[in-house]
Point group: C2
Chain length 178, copies 2
DNA sequence: AGATTTATGTCAATATAGTTGACGTAAATA
DNA sequence: TATTTACGTCAACTATATTGACATAAATCT
């Protein structure tokens, strides 16, 4: 039980709360809060340089990850109203970080693409957040690494998982080509 | 590779993104976003019944988990300004969900406690969010359960982990007594 | 061809949650 | 006594979201 070193110490603390009791579930609730709090903080400084906020970040991120995304698909991902999306999207379009082209099969749709400028910012932001995950994966014992992503996937509403999985597959395919 | 069943399918998908490459870190970023999006959604309906929002939830949660919390400690946890805290805290005080007592050792401090009413709501809200974790833990292979909390802990800023660990220990102690 | 639905844009009002800045007060401390 | 600390408060502002109503062009149905 008494291992030396801070890393071992917090690992003990973490393992201690892993059991499936109510009390320990509560501790996971708090860990999730703190983890997300720090996670989203990473990108904020960089965004401030461009006069953008987190809402712009989310839009830019998903447009960059899934070029050709429609408005409807983006609304579905973000779970906000079109009026709310429109404000930040308009700013991203006007500032030249995102561009919209009429859909080829359905010309009512506006397909969203990152501009080179937008792609660069999206990658810079993504690098910040990826860095946290890469560091975490290094810190974690190899056996726990797959578990982390299984855990996150299981945290998603069960009726949403298929959609998320499709999104990830689509983003991966988009990332392979260019 | 070809296992039957949806559970096996998404487990494969999750395991696939677990490697420590940049591309896969990006997928973890998105999984984290989706997981948190669904996680915070759970409590919103219940909060609406009381005319409260997420800000109230966070305050009530931490006051309930750590009775006798000072304003300064709460500000440190939430990372917001005192003006922003004051608005929601005042509402919780006036509505009788939280009460403040002058500190005994330092009478400038206001120690925050949940009222019976506040404690009940806090537990109802916590039950909703705990339920998600308990369900996830059931879905996950036992070996992955400890890994989930290790992962969340590792996602916290390293210079914040000691504080969070102290907070968890304190909350646990507070939860044991009553 | 005409009617309807769909995808999207937009105007307006409002709510919630946060910010910065300035100032006040009571209690602890040097 | 002077200063610092813990907290409260007024004001103006920003960011992000909401609901509701209405507009338009393109696709689709009958």
């Amino acid at each position: 039980m008494v291992e030396p070193g801070a890393a071992a110490a917090w690992r003990n603390a973490a393992a201690e709360v892993a059991a499936t009791s109510d009390e320990n579930a509560l501790e996971l609730v708090e860990l999730f809060f703190f983890a997300y709090r720090d996670f989203v903080g990473d990108a904020d400084r960089l965004l401030g340089n461009y006069g953008f906020g987190r809402a712009h970040h989310r839009v830019l991120h998903f447009v960059n990850r899934r070029p050709g995304l429609t408005i409807a698909a983006l609304l579905d991902i973000l779970r906000i109203t079109k009026q709310s999306l429109n404000r930040v999207l308009k700013q991203l379009l006007e500032a030249g970080f995102v561009e919209a082209r009429a859909g080829v099969v359905d010309r009512r749709q506006r397909l969203l693409f990152p501009t080179p400028l937008g792609g660069t910012l999206a990658r810079d932001l993504a690098a910040l957040q990826s860095a946290r995950f890469l560091k975490v994966m290094e810190e974690l014992p190899p056996a726990a690494r797959g578990a982390a992503s299984e855990f996150l996937f299981a945290m998603i509403d069960s009726d949403e998982r298929e959609r998320v999985r499709a999104h990830l597959a689509c983003a991966k395919a988009a990332g392979d080509a260019p």
